[in-house]
Amino acid sequence: MNRFHKGQKIQIFKSSSDESWEPFMDSFVGLSGVITDPDTSINDPDALVEVSIEGKGTYRLPQDCIRPLDE
């Protein structure tokens, strides 16, 4: 799997233990979305990526809870 790229369809498949994961984000698990901004400058697997989740809005999420839908 390559790093995430803009426009990629993804799914939030689990919650994350990352400090940036907030309790309300548990309701995102199982939902689909699109990557709208991967890490902007550095290819860092630890960077937060911007994801637009269908019906929920746009959030920066850690990458360990996201998997691509189309690969």
């Binding site: 790229h5 709208t36 902007t40 400058s41 809005g57 959030y59």
Partner: protein, 718 residues
């Protein structure tokens, strides 16, 4: 009788109607109504906490306590009774985040609006632009984003990635349409600020005049707060001004939009650095009650390779862009290598070309596909003559006599390492080579200058060296201090900073008013339901996204003139007509289902309605099979699908897209409309055995019944 409409939604509508009618003109009542609206809106969207209902009760008591003289006393009693009678429903909304009737999601924003980090009501302003109402469109945008012109030129446009139209062909050019509307409205003088609330006499300090700070300042000023913005640079704009080159964003665009914010009474103090020129204690003594930090991420990461600190010709991209933005136009060298793959790397490379550098190469450790930079920016850079060296890992900067001679690199390949799901660049054995250069520009990312905030005791930081906040409110660990923008997200987008600034402004207002904060980030708010424009199905399919006209390549290589020249007015109005109006159609698919499974017709080819597996869409195909029965329209929960009789035609439309027109057949006896021929044929097939009319006769139900009864009487034996 059981109430079929959600009481939360109904009561919210009652408050909003009363506010919009201007009936609540008593200042205290108006303030109470606004706060009630915010709190009930939280409940409707599942963002409320346990203190919301008690706070609503208190506000209603305060309102009722004002007596009959205050405006809306009857409404207060009505609201109080309504909430008491439906207490369980309100509590259920708070606890389960569920609306049994579905009303509270019926007006769910379109995907583009939901995607926008600032929550701009995209379909509404696109519809207004389509109608030529540019100033109204700008007013809609500014409900959620005070910098429409800036964003029209530099936004990363996440909205376009979620645009449903892209499931058919290409997304709507949302960004460029916004730029056109803002420029036109500014040009004709109709770009104005909305009315401000009366002064509250309370002071808020914004630290940083970048997009996040400007956004917070604007919304706080509109709410009547006294706002002072402290900025270390000599002008406003932050990264907009010193991080984005002028060929993408002319300075005048920033200046004009900042001037509008300034005209709201916002005070800007330039060349003032927080921490050294002014401190938190000093500001508190001056009477500031809340603080908003939007200091950005202006410090560059170092490359971490040998030679980096040995030569003055190694510069970071942010410093280079800043110097050029502030007026220094000397070329850094003749042969430049920019290391990085993001938008900053592209901006630095294109800036070097414009400064007169002979050769500019971007060295990136992965391939073109993995570049985080905007595809259009990469293409434009290539057109201008920027070279790309992919799968190139910098190893060492070499030189002599204090001057760089080259960059030692290693060729890489992308390999999936054991235990990792992603491919990483791995050096190829023996793949070393030297790229000749006299200047190296590092563009591998930025971080927050946290030293500026060291004096703020108790401010918590994340392990990513960003300010830790509650993302629902942007509140930091210190009471009364809020933060947003790159200082919170790390280097991110302009629109995220703007959205964060607005969210913080709303939270600061609640903090200073003493009303409870939401537990979830706010859901974007619909700003209207603008009438759709009728477009024939064939036009809807045939219209194509226009190509952006660009400055000539010679000027692009030599000057800082704006590269994107903007669409023509005709292109803009046509492009707006491509919008599918997802603010009205929720793409629930009931129309398709009813037509296919219940009526057995299958006339709707609307594959775009499926997010995960979109199939073919062709609005033109409906006309071939549709019998204009209206079953789809009757089952549409949002009145997006409509069937109407106009003149001698029956017209089926989806959000204004005319899917089918059928000539109407009239009753040959009384002249009443009985439907299109296809529909009558469909019905006749099903009732053929029940009663047959004389050949060539078309009768309405009443006339058919009368005739049938007459025949029956005539033929009955006496």
């Amino acid at each position: 009788m059981t109430e079929t409409r959600c009481p939360v939604n109904r009561i919210l509508s009652e408050i909003r109607s009363a506010m919009e009618s201007g009936a609540l003109n008593h200042p205290r009542v108006h303030r109470i109504a606004e706060q009630l609206e915010e709190l009930i809106d939280d409940i409707a969207w599942g963002r409320a906490g346990s203190d919301h209902l008690p706070a609503i009760d208190e506000l209603l008591q305060e309102w009722l306590g004002l007596g009959e003289e205050a405006s809306g006393a009857a409404l207060a009693r009505q609201l109080s009774a309504g909430i008491s009678a439906n207490r369980e429903v309100f509590e259920s909304h708070v606890k389960t985040h569920n609306c049994a009737t579905g009303d509270c999601v019926k007006l769910a924003p379109a995907p583009c609006q939901m995607t926008c980090p600032a929550g701009i009501d995209v379909p509404t302003y696109l519809a207004l632009i389509g109608q030529g109402k540019d100033a109204e469109a700008v007013a809609v945008i500014r409900r959620d984003n005070p910098l429409p012109w800036v964003c029209g030129l530099v936004c990363t446009r996440p909205c376009e990635f979620m645009c449903v139209r892209a499931r058919i062909d290409t997304p709507i050019a949302i960004k460029s349409l916004k730029a056109f509307a803002a420029e036109r409205a500014m040009s004709v003088g109709s770009y104005v600020n909305p009315p401000q609330e009366p002064p509250k006499g309370r002071k808020v300090c914004v630290i940083g005049a970048g997009p996040g700070g400007l956004s917070a300042a604007y919304y706080l000023a509109l709410k009547g707060y006294t706002v002072r913005v402290i900025e270390a640079l000599p002008m406003a704009g932050g990264m907009l001004m010193v991080g984005i080159p002028r060929y993408r964003l002319p300075r005048e665009v920033i200046d004009r939009e900042v001037a509008l914010i300034e005209s709201l009474g916002v005070e800007f103090r330039y060349n003032t650095r927080f921490g050294s020129d002014v401190t938190l204690d000093q500001l508190r003594k001056e009477g500031f009650e809340a603080f908003f930090f939007a200091i950005g991420a202006h410090n560059a990461y170092k490359l971490g390779i040998p030679g980096e600190d040995d030569f003055p010709q190694v510069i970071d991209a942010i410093s280079l862009l800043k110097r050029v933005a502030l007026g220094e136009r000397h070329k850094p060298g003749e042969s430049v290598i920019v290391i990085g793959g993001g938008n900053v790397a592209i901006d630095a490379a294109r800036t070097c070309l414009r400064l007169g550098c002979q050769s500019v190469t971007i060295a990136y450790r992965r391939t073109r596909v993995e570049m985080p930079a905007d595809v259009e920016e990469v293409e434009q850079a290539e057109e201008e003559g920027v070279h790309f060296a992919f799968l190139t890992i910098p190893k060492q900067i070499t030189g002599k006599d204090g001057k760089i001679t080259g960059l030692e690199c290693v060729r890489a390949q992308l390999i999936q390492k054991p235990g990792s799901k992603r491919k990483s660049p791995v050096p190829i054995l023996g793949g070393e080579f030297v790229m000749p250069a006299d200047t190296i520009v590092a563009a591998i990312g930025q971080r927050v200058d946290y030293q500026a905030l060291e004096q703020v005791d108790g401010l918590e930081w994340t392990r990513r060296d960003t300010i830790k906040v509650n993302t629902a409110t942007m509140a930091t660990s210190r009471e009364g201090i809020f933060a947003a923008g790159d200082a919170v997200t790390g280097p991110a987008t302009v629109i995220e900073a703007i959205g964060g600034g607005k969210r913080a402004a709303l939270a600061i207002d609640r903090y200073l008013q003493g009303i409870p904060q939401p537990e979830l980030p706010p859901v974007p708010v619909r700003r209207g339901r603008v009438e759709w424009t009728e477009v024939p199905a064939s036009t809807k399919m045939v219209l194509k996204r226009p190509e952006m006209p660009l400055l000539t390549i010679d000027r692009r290589r030599t000057t800082f003139q704006q590269v994107e020249l903007g669409f023509s007015e005709n292109q803009v109005r046509e492009e707006a007509r491509r919008c599918l109006r997802c603010d009205i159609c929720r793409r629930c698919g009931k129309c398709v289902e009813v037509c296919r499974d219940h009526m057995g017709i299958d006339a709707l080819k609307l594959g775009y309605m499926d997010f995960e597996h979109p199939s073919e869409t062709d609005f033109r195909r409906t006309e071939e099979k549709c019998i204009a029965c209206g079953a789809c329209a009757a089952n549409c929960p949002n009145d997006a699908m409509q069937i109407i009789d106009r003149g001698d035609e029956r017209i089926l439309s989806l959000c204004g897209t005319i899917l089918n027109r059928q000539k109407l057949v009239l009753c040959s006896n009384c002249g009443k409309v009985i439907g299109p021929q296809r529909y009558l044929d469909f019905i006749r097939k099903r009732v053929d055995d029940i009663g047959r009319l004389p050949e060539g006769q078309m009768l309405c139900e009443v006339c058919a019944r009368n005739q049938s009864a007459k025949l029956h009487t005539d033929s009955m034996p006496v």
